[in-house]
């Protein structure tokens, strides 16, 4: 996992609220058994026509999206299914941070575990960024994880919340499993004092 420190990028605006993970990666592409080539599935049905030709009106097909690393998304982004293919595809396309007023729970957890930073910003700042980016497609912001700030085009900063544990993992680019595995003695002690509730292997 690539560490996240500071991301300066144009914004790709996608104002739709409640964008669900079926839109981010339609279910028919979930038959893969690895993570390769996920970028081609991202927003597939909004991005490509029946013949697989890019739809020019869709924001990801416009020149401004090329090389951009920050998606400005509508509220409750990532709702619906638990598929981790959604953050995998966003990362594969090149996004490193998402700005919105809120994110769906499972999606947010999946994003954090893959080095994709969900940034919650206040509703007025969010609305203002959409207004500004409509006028100026080259509008840039900077997201800095260490200071937990977004530097807006006018130089002002807003801070965003993130739990310290996820933050440290993202700054270092390490998976959270390492921490869990270090708890071995606690896990063993728990198992010794809590008999199993079920034995799935009986009769198999």
């Amino acid at each position: 996992m690539e560490p996240i420190t500071k991301i300066t990028s144009r914004l790709v605006p996608l104002p739709n609220e409640n964008v669900d993970t079926d839109i981010i990666v339609p279910a028919r592409f979930l038959k893969v058994t690895d993570k390769a080539g996920m970028d081609q599935y991202l927003f597939r049905d909004w991005r490509f026509d029946e013949a697989g030709k890019p739809l020019p009106d869709f924001i990801l097909n416009q020149p401004r999206a090329k090389g951009a690393q920050i998606l400005l998304a509508g509220r409750n982004f990532g709702s619906g299914s638990s598929r981790e293919h959604a953050p995998w595809a966003l990362l594969a396309f090149g996004f490193r941070a998402l700005l919105s007023t809120s994110f769906a729970d499972i999606f947010q957890g999946n994003a954090l575990k893959n080095g994709l930073l969900p940034v919650v910003i206040p509703p007025d700042v969010h609305a203002d960024l959409f207004r500004q980016v409509e006028k100026n497609p080259n509008l840039e912001v900077t997201v800095e994880l260490a200071s937990q700030t977004v530097t807006l085009p006018d130089g002002k900063t807003v801070s965003f919340p993130i739990d310290n544990f996820s933050k440290q993992c993202l700054l270092a680019g390490v998976d959270q499993l390492g921490y869990l595995l270090k708890q071995e003695s606690h896990i063993r002690a728990y198992e010794q004092s809590h008999p199993p509730r079920v034995q799935t292997t009986i009769g198999s």
Binding site: D45, R75, S82, D105, F165, L180, I187, T200
Partner: protein
């Protein structure tokens, strides 16, 4: 001894499963049962291999195939090579890591959220996870059950724990008696319409009240199943005699003296009197009508007799745009009734509504009648066990005589990964849980409803009010 603080059902289960809690770190929460299926697990098993890790607890892990398997004749080879490969990969992974697999030829194969309860893996007081957002289903038993991503699947496989931050609690109190033609599906669709698809984000819902107590276990599962559609982490119902009666004698529940011990523990689980919730809403079940969705998320729902709303009636620009976009996708006009809107397909199935009581409800409407000509009606039982039970009761004949297809168990047209899908532009009335764009097939348009409404709509060839047929 000082009186202990009153606790909710959720808090009791949470507290009992905290393995370690260090300052500035999330809690390591112990997981009692891990359900695995073919779609969200392959990359997790590969992660174990890449890191040289073992499966910590095979006997707390159980797998089945449901999402990508065909619901046609199982003796035939799987036509889709990618689906076949994914299913084969799960078989390989289960063999390699020692996980019991209720696989494609097993008499206990089925949708993961159907077989967990029916085999008795799902029990009160447990923590249950699965790489599937509808894991909330198991909360109907008074378990803390939630969906996880593939990285977390790997965490549970390797450590039998998850790093979690404590969600807040949300009481959904539903009193009153459901009217004829109104069922559990209508309760949950009405709730999501009321609080919205983001209304539960950050919360665990606990459903309480006399209307919930009166529901069967299968109906409770329907309610809890769609908690995620309100954005909630989980949905739960305190266990009671209905729960214990359902579980008694199931293959994997504790037996003999262990059953009595378990019962004693399970009876301690319900929220204490005076336990505080962070948020609450109430609903009157007696006021509910059959519900249906008109839009492209499960919160866009209304009573079946109501007109399609106008985007302008929404409270803010974002939701106005959302409804406008949804009506465009659904090709619906504001102000017009949904009742009578033509459909091409009816799907009765999914982890929300594919259990025996759902099939009985649909069969009760369809018996001795014919579905509308040209309509395609799929009835997909949730498991091999549900299928056998239905066969014993003669339900397949009722469905076939009415003009429906009776198929093999799986997720089928709920997620449309297995070839069961809508064609672009087609409308369906579906008993599943999601009406997202393309969910039932690219360009497909979904009206979510109960099995009763689906069966009535199948007969009339359009969105119908089942109460006219009772």
């Amino acid at each position: 001894m000082a009186a202990e603080k009153s606790q909710t059902l959720f808090e009791k289960i949470w507290n009992r499963h905290v393995v370690v809690e260090e300052p500035d770190c999330p809690v390591a929460l112990y997981i009692d049962l891990h359900l695995v299926h073919e779609v969200t697990s392959p990359q997790a098993f590969q992660g174990l291999r890449d890191q040289g890790l073992r499966l910590r607890q095979p006997s707390k892990t159980v797998a089945t195939v449901d999402h990508s398997i065909p619901t046609t004749d199982r003796s035939l080879p799987i036509a889709d090579p990618m689906a076949a490969n994914q299913i084969r990969q799960l078989e390989v992974n289960c063999r390699e890591f020692g996980i019991p697999l209720h696989g494609i030829d097993s008499p206990t194969q089925g949708i993961v959220h159907v077989i967990g309860p029916e085999l008795g893996f799902t029990q009160p007081g447990m923590t249950i996870v699965c790489g599937d957002s509808h894991t909330a289903t198991h909360g109907a038993f008074g378990a803390l059950a939630f969906g996880i991503g593939t990285t977390e699947v790997q965490h549970v496989l390797a450590a039998q724990c998850l790093l979690q931050r404590k969600p807040r609690s949300f009481e959904v109190r539903i009193d009153g008696t459901l009217q004829p033609g109104v069922s559990a599906k209508d309760i949950i669709l009405a709730l999501i319409a009321q609080i919205g698809v983001g209304g539960g984000v950050g919360f665990v819902l606990e459903y309480t009240g006399s209307a919930i107590r009166a529901l069967s276990m299968e109906a409770r599962m329907t309610v809890c199943n769609m908690s995620i559609e309100a954005g909630a982490k989980a949905g739960m119902i305190a266990p009671d005699e209905t729960t214990f009666h359902y579980l008694a004698g199931k293959p994997y529940v504790p037996q003999a003296a262990a059953w009595d011990d378990a019962l004693k523990q399970w009876k301690q689980l319900p929220s204490d009197p005076g336990a505080r919730f962070d948020r609450s809403v109430t609903m009157d079940a007696s006021q509910l009508e059959p519900m249906i969705t008109y839009g492209t998320n499960p919160g866009m729902g209304l009573p079946v007799t109501a007109p399609v709303p106008s985007p302008d009636s929404m409270p803010d620009t974002a939701s106005q745009n959302a409804v406008r976009h949804a009506l465009e996708y659904m090709a619906l006009e504001p102000g017009k009734p949904l009742l009578g809107h033509p459909i091409e397909v009816v799907f009765i199935g999914s982890c929300t509504n594919s259990r025996i009581s759902d099939l009985r409800a649909a069969a009760g409407i369809l018996k001795g009648r014919k579905v509308s000509p040209k309509l395609r009606v799929l009835v997909v039982p949730g498991s091999q066990q549900v299928k056998r039970q239905a066969e014993q009761e003669g339900l397949p004949d009722i469905f076939r005589d009415a003009g429906c297809e009776w198929r093999e168990p799986g997720c089928s047209m709920c997620i449309a990964m297995n070839g069961d899908e809508l064609e672009p532009g087609q409308y369906s009335v579906s008993t599943s849980n999601r009406n997202f764009e393309g969910r039932q097939g690219k360009g497909g348009r979904t009206f979510l409803a109960s099995p009763l409404t689906a069966a009535a709509s199948a007969l009339q060839g359009c969105v119908a009010d089942v109460r006219t047929l009772l």
